[in-house]
Symmetry: C2
Subunit: 238 residues, 2 copies
């Protein structure tokens, strides 16, 4: 399944960019960066390619250098649940790094993607040698843990309508001070992320539109017309 792009794509160039780009390393001295770079390999994947399945042995940290990676789980009953989307600079492989283990989730390249990898032994050595890296990773983990627990709470205590509204608001905030946002994924994926179905997403967005909270535009763009209304989440029933 995993074919990758031939070795001529593993340029020194992109490996370097990768290490420089990642928050967990970019505070290091140049000579330390060089050291890490030399332990790094770069692999390419083409759009739609499966990077790993749940159950695959996991023994490296993967850092996205270019492209986008979708990480999802399959439930017992075979439903797909989107966990997160990795953008350049994001990393994955957390579980595997600190104990022998296998992947718990699937990942696919959403676009043509370059990934840099460091093996577990190499990373562990770096962590002991440069403890500040561990602090950075701890910070990132605590951020993710926080996000994940929040997501659990959201899914288990709020109705779809509110989950969707909060998600839109979150997207808006990431866009800066804009009044318009671009969904970072398809509605199908969004449904999977929010624990619902594409049909329901579709209907709820129409409701928001009818309530005058938003306007849907082309290419996944959504204009926010009434942020407070959206936040309150009270859509007028007919």
């Amino acid at each position: 399944m995993k074919k990758g792009i031939p070795p001529h794509n593993c340029q020194e160039q992109s490996t370097k960019a990768c290490v420089l780009r990642v928050p967990i390393f970019n505070h290091l001295e140049p000579h330390q960066l060089d050291e890490i770079m030399s332990a790094t390999r770069s692999v390419g994947y083409t759009k739609g390619e499966l990077i790993n399945r749940a159950g695959d042995p996991s023994d490296m940290l993967s850092i996205v250098n270019a492209g986008k990676v979708k990480i999802y789980r399959l439930s017992e009953s075979g439903k797909e649940q989107l966990v997160r989307i990795l953008a350049p600079g994001d990393f994955s492989g957390e579980l595997a790094l600190f104990r022998e283990s296998v992947h718990e989730s699937y990942s696919v390249a959403m676009e043509d993607t370059q990934i840099c990898t460091i093996t577990r032994p190499d990373l562990q050595a770096f962590l002991l040698k440069y403890p500040t890296i561990a602090l950075k990773i701890l910070a990132e983990f605590s951020r993710r843990l926080e996000a994940s627990e929040k997501q659990t709470t959201l899914v288990s205590t709020e109705k779809v309508e509110k989950r969707l509204a909060l998600y839109l608001i979150e997207c808006l905030e990431q866009e800066g001070a804009a009044t318009e946002l671009t969904l970072p994924m398809s509605k199908k994926n969004l449904a999977s992320y929010l624990g619902t179905t594409p049909e329901t997403i579709s209907r709820k967005l129409v409701e928001f539109e009818n309530a005058g909270f938003i306007r849907q535009k082309a290419r996944r763009r959504i204009e926010i017309l009434n942020l407070d209304g959206l936040r309150a989440g009270i859509t007028i029933r007919l």
Copy 2:
């Protein structure tokens, strides 16, 4: 709100036990343990006492020495969602430790409880001095992250019936090879943990009983009669 138990309870004794008991420290040398112990304070809480609220500033790692602590979040709409229960040896305060921050969740003592605390500056110093501690914490975080993401998937893709069945099975596994398990929390809390209501838990357990999968006994004990049936989760409708 936070009143604690007077200082005479902060015995050297319990502080030592605490540090020894925790997986993140118990691999260290005696002199290192002494060093950490001297940076540790012990505080007591009485049953039902609120330890912290969401929004409180969080600047220390807390380790449970004795007792049980319930950690929960409140959703936007005011519903309580149980995140986890800390037993002796478990720790909490993750988010706060690596960046200035506030608690995202509430914690209450479920019984009379002793907690040891280490301030952020002290812990950060130890992490840099003894990098193996960071590795231990990373391992624990990755375990929790994994559990949390699994929980999200479960809640967002499976029906209550299956979530409950899987939960029972998980409890059973933790009891060793027994055919009987004790729910570690009230059904009300279990409902909150599984993202449902006490009424539904009650009804589903009766369904499982009618299907011959389990038998409910006194004091939160449940006997498993048909593990495979439970796993398959197909209850016979009338």
